[in-house]
C-alpha cells in the first residue's frame, strides 16, 4: 500500500496536480489573510486610533520638543532572576 502511494506521488500527472493545488491554497491563504487583516486593521486598529485621538493619547512621540532638556528616559531595569527571561516580554 505504501509502495502504491509512493508510486502515485511520483507520478508526473499526480505531482503536477498536487503542485497546482498547493498554488491555489497559497493564493486562497493570501486572500483570506489579507481580508481578515484588513478587517482587523479597520475595526481593531482604526477604532482604537479613533478613541486615542479623542482622548489625545499618543503611542509614539513623533516630533521634537524645544522645551525639553533631554530625551533620555530611564531604561527598564532588568534583574538577574532567571524566571524573568523565560517571558517573551
Amino acid at each position: 500500500m505504501k509502495l502504491f502511494i509512493k508510486k502515485l506521488l511520483n507520478n508526473r500527472i499526480v505531482s503536477f496536480f498536487i503542485r497546482g493545488l498547493k498554488k491555489i491554497s497559497r493564493g486562497l491563504n493570501f486572500i483570506i489573510n489579507t481580508a481578515l487583516l484588513l478587517i482587523v486593521y479597520i475595526f481593531g486598529v482604526g477604532l482604537t486610533w479613533l478613541f486615542a485621538k479623542i482622548l489625545k493619547k499618543h503611542f509614539l512621540e513623533m516630533q521634537p520638543s524645544k522645551n525639553r532638556q533631554t530625551y533620555w528616559s530611564d531604561a527598564e531595569l532588568r534583574g538577574s532572576d532567571v524566571s524573568d527571561y523565560y517571558r517573551q516580554f
Binding site: 482604526g46 512621540e61 531604561a75 517573551q88
Partner: protein, 572 residues
Amino acid sequence: MYILGLSCFYHDSSAALLRDGKIVAAAEEERFTRKKHDSSFPLSAINYCLSSQGITINDIAYIGFYEKPFLKFERLLSQYLETFPKGLWSFVSTLPIWFSQKLRLIKIVRKKLKYKGSVLFVPHHLAHAASAFLISPFQKAAILTIDGVGEWSTTTYGIGEENEIKLLKHLAFPHSLGLLYSAITAYLGFRVNNCEYKVMGLSAYGESDKDKNQYYKKLKNTIDIKADGSFCLDMDYFSYCFAQKMPSKKLCQLLGLPIRKASEELTQSHKDIAAALQTITEEVIMKIINHLHKEVACENLVLAGGVALNSVCNGKILKNAPFKNIWIQPNASDGGTSIGAISYIYNSLLGNARNYQMEDAFLGPSFSNEEIKTFLDKEKISYQFLGDSELVEIGAKLIFENKIIGWFQGRMEWGPRALGNRSILANPLNPEMKDILNSRIKHRESFRPFAPAVCEESVSTYFECDSPLPEAARYMLLVYPIKEAWRSDLPAVTHFDGTGRLQAVNKDRNPLFYRLIEEFKALSGFSVILNTSFNTNNEPIVCTPSEAWNCAKRAGLNYLAIGNFLIKLDEK
C-alpha cells in the same frame, strides 16, 4: 555546560555556542545558505556549532534568544496605532510573518531542533551590551549600544562591572540613529541593512566642512540634538513607522532631490549628503559619549549595535572623548547578539565569574589539509602542496608581482570583515589595483575603498592612530588617517580622504597571515597588504573549499592558496 545563542527573523541570523563560559563556535547563517543577510532560522549555523564540539542538542542546557518578541510586537502595534490609516499595506503584509514565525519561536525551536530544554529571551539591547562588555578585556566599563531598533530602545547606555550589566538610560523608537542612517542610505539608492557601510565610504568624497556643506544644515532640520547627545527625529521626514519606504516626500523636498535609483550615477550632491549624514552621526555619538563619561566615571568604553560598525566614527572616539580605552565586538550588529545572549545568561543570570576574553574573531568552521585534498582530487584540480614557510614566501612574491590571490586558511571569521582567513589579497602599492579589484574582481562601485592589513607593530609607522592601539583595530573597526608621507606609496588602500580602515595583524593571533605580510615587507619594504573579503558582490564571504574554488574562478583570481595548497588559475 553548553549554552546555545540564536539571533534570527530580522536580518543576519546567527548561532553561537558557549562551553563553560568560553565562546567555542559562532557563525552567521548566510555563510551556509549563501543567501546574503539571511534572516531565517539558523539551522545550518546551529548544526555547525554543535558538530564543532561533537555534541547534540540534548547537551544544551539553555538556548538564549536575542530579543523579547512580544515586546517588539507591542512596539509594532504602537506604530500602526499612531499612524493609522497610513500603515494599512505594511500591516497587511507584515503581520502574517509575525503570527507564523516571529511570535512562535519556542514552537519552532522545539520542532526544528527537537529541543526540550529552557529557552530564555534576553532583551535586544542587553544582548548587544553583553556581546561587547562580557567578552571584553575590561572588568569595568561604560557601555553604549546604538542600532536601528530592538524592542523599543534604539540607543542605550549603562555600566558593566565584573559580570553585571546595568542599563541606565535609553532612547526609544522611532528616534534612532541607525534608522536615520538607513533612511539616508535608502534615499541615496542603496539597500537598507546591507549598504550603510557604502554610504560611510561615499562620505569621504563629500564636503566635510559643515559650513560649506548645504546638506548639513538641511539634514539638521530633521533632528533635534540636545547637549547631552539625546536626540529626537522629526518624523515628518521619515516614513519607516508605517511604510517599507524610509524617506518621506518631505525629506525629498528638503534635500531638493528625488530618491536616487540604484542605476543612476552618483553626483556630488549625493556625496555631500552622505558626508552631511556622517558628520551628524559623529556629532551625536561624540555628544553621547561625552555625556556618558560624566554619568559613568570610568576610563573604559565598550560599543555595540549596528552603528558601532561605523569605523570612521570609531577612529575618532578616543581623540575626542575622555575615555582612555575602547573595545568593540567584531560582529557588533544583530548577528553578534547571539554571543551576547549566551554570555549574559552564563555570567549575569547564572552568576558565573567571567573566564573568557575574545582575542580573535576566528570562530567559524575550518578544514584540514586532508579535507581540502579530498575536494581538490575529486574535482581534479592541479595544485602544489607547500609547507607554511614556502607558502608565505611564494604568496608574498605573487602579491608583489601584482597577482591577486584568494587566501583560505584556518577558521572562518565571525563578523562582516575578512581578517586574513577568508580573504582576497593584493598589492597595495599598485595604483591600478583598486580599480582592477572593484571593476573586474568584486564587481562593485568604483568609489569603494580597500582595507590595509598591517603588522600590529608597524601600524603607528603608517597611520595617525591612537596610542596604545585599541584591540578593535584587529577587527577592522577603526579608520585612521594614513600619514601623508605614505599615501602615495599605498594608493590601493588609501581612501579618497587619505584614510584607511586598517586591520592590525597580531603575530600570535594569526601567525601565518602575519608572516605573509612580513615576507611582503622583505620584498617591497612595506608591511602592508591589501585585504578584502573573499566573495564577489552581493554574495556572503566564502565558507568551504568548494565555495572558495568557485568564487576564485568566477572572480578571475590569479591564484588560490587554500590550506597548504597553492592553485594557479590564470596568468593574466
